[in-house]
């Protein structure tokens, strides 16, 4: 995973330190490496798109295997560029229309396949009368659903006491949920930082025994 070549490790370490130097203050060293990073990332992506998509997945079937119908892919792709012409912009709209229609069709299938099981899962019994089992999870989901929805209910003013309490509870529950998301975000960011620190300490400085 990490580069074995010592020169590459040195370059990686210098780049990492240069980017982290922003934590002290804005400086030309950071700026230089920021631009190098953006340039490199763009170049890398262009190279990958050519090597892994255009050549094997379009060029090879068309030119090597003689599948002539792949020319349509290029033609449709080129149609998008007519967006720059005021006179022929309708050509770009045709291409866009084709893709939007295609996406809408797939979207309907996707919606049914993804959300129907979600809706079904939201309506689980709180008490199973057949065996008397009580499901606290289901009760919590039900209460949260109602109070959070009441928080977003703006058709009438929240002067009614029941609605006001419900909306306030909904806001608190939302805050708890946002807190959990924030906690996970912190964990994710710290994980990325640990990865860099581990690289600097062990791969670069060789502090590992």
């Amino acid at each position: 995973m990490n580069a074995v070549n010592p020169e590459v490790i040195w370059i990686g370490a210098i780049c990492t330190l240069a980017i982290y130097s922003i934590l002290y203050r804005e400086n030309p060293f950071f700026r230089l490496f920021e631009h190098i990073f953006v340039g490199l990332a763009t170049g890398y992506w262009v190279q990958l798109i050519i090597v892994q998509i255009i050549v094997p997945q379009w060029g090879k079937p068309l030119f090597v295997e003689g599948k002539w119908y792949w020319t349509f892919a290029m033609l449709i792709g080129c149609m998008f560029y007519f967006i720059y012409s005021k006179r022929y912009v309708w050509i770009a709209r045709w291409a866009m229309g084709l893709f939007i229609g295609f996406s809408a069709g797939l979207g309907i299938v996707a919606f049914v396949a993804e959300y129907i099981p979600q809706i079904v899962a939201s309506f689980r019994p709180i008490v199973e009368w057949s065996n008397g089992d009580f499901h606290f999870d289901s009760l919590l989901v039900f209460i949260t659903l109602i109070v959070v929805m009441s928080y977003f209910f703006f058709s009438i003013e929240h002067k009614n006491r029941a609605l006001s309490y419900s909306a306030k509870t909904g806001r608190w529950l939302l805050m708890i949920a946002f807190g959990a998301i924030f906690g996970n975000t912190v964990m994710a960011r710290v994980s990325l930082f640990i990865d860099r620190v581990q690289f600097l300490l062990f791969d670069w400085l060789k502090l590992q025994s």
Partner: protein
């Protein structure tokens, strides 16, 4: 000016403290015991139950920017697959770098367990086309994949002899760090593989993405989940291996304790200064001039 300087130095001190909280546990090699959560346990159990005549698809929807979390997840999963003798295929439809990075992880691990490339595992590389391609792939894997990452045609890979459609897939695990065209990568599998063909889907995601994935666990649309680095460490524990994730979790825990302490100190300082200001205002006789807004006072 003095206040600005004070804030400047306090911030830098916090950055240094975080760096120390991460570096010291890494250097001292302290390890805390991991408590395995049910999402990781469920994923592990499901992988174990995949029949031998079916393959596991490892979908690597991540790139170098998120390898801090996704690389240990990929490593833990591949180790489990190699150790238990499950056949697996690596690929990605959302990130070009994913299969390349996963290849670097898989090569040493599979070698350790004597798993042969092309027989026990393959790397299909990156395939473009998003939802349209995924639908086609579910019905005709040979026609969609065509060749592996090195350009070897699928007909020449013994692995592919009995792998033709979704019926030959026992589990898809999406290791994801983001979305494609605004849709989380796992949703493509949930919609077109789980939804249409009932192919089981597992999930390993970054910590940021974990909370929104829980409804899919509850509804049974995903069989189990690795949540960020913690999930990877839990999975390593289940596999019986102490790798990068386990080691990093100690540093993670130290950093979290420090962050919690800083949040408490920061809030306590805020409320104390607010109280002090209120006392000062009550003691000072009013000059009649309107008080400045709170942000300005700070």
């Amino acid at each position: 000016m003095v206040e600005k300087k004070r804030v400047f130095y306090i911030r830098r001190a916090i950055f240094l403290l975080i760096a120390a909280a991460v570096a010291i546990p890494l250097l001292t090699r302290i390890e805390f015991p991991m408590i395995v959560g049910w999402p990781a346990q469920n994923l592990y159990d499901f992988v174990d139950k995949v029949p031998t005549d079916k393959i596991v698809v490892v979908s690597t929807s991540w790139s170098a920017g998120s390898q801090g979390e996704c690389a240990p997840q990929t490593a833990a999963l591949i180790r489990h697959l190699a150790k238990s003798g499950k056949r697996f295929a690596i690929w990605s439809f959302s990130d070009i770098q994913g299969p390349e990075l996963a290849q670097a992880i898989a090569e040493p691990v599979t070698k350790e367990y004597n798993r042969e490339y092309g027989v026990d595992w393959v790397n299909w590389g990156y395939k473009t086309g998003a939802s349209a391609m995924i639908r086609g792939w579910a019905k005709d894997i040979w026609g969609t994949v065509k060749e592996d990452m090195e350009g070897t045609p699928v007909e020449e890979l013994p692995f592919m002899e009995d792998v033709h459609s979704h019926e030959d897939i026992g589990l898809i695990v999406d290791i994801s760090a983001g979305a494609l065209y605004g849709v989380n990568t796992v949703n493509y599998y949930i919609q077109f593989l789980k939804g249409l063909y009932n192919v089981p889907v597992g999930y390993a995601c970054t910590g940021v993405m974990a909370p929104e994935a829980f409804p899919y666990l509850d509804s049974g649309q995903i069989v189990g989940m690795m949540r960020g680095l913690a999930g990877a460490a839990e999975y390593e524990t289940l596999v019986g291996f102490s790798g990068d994730a386990t080691r990093r979790m100690t540093a993670q825990s130290f950093a979290h304790v420090l962050i919690i302490a800083l949040i408490i100190i920061g809030n306590a300082g805020y409320f104390l200064s607010k109280r002090r200001r209120r006392v000062e205002e009550a003691q000072t006789p009013s000059s009649g001039a309107p008080s400045p807004p709170e942000e300005q006072r700070e």
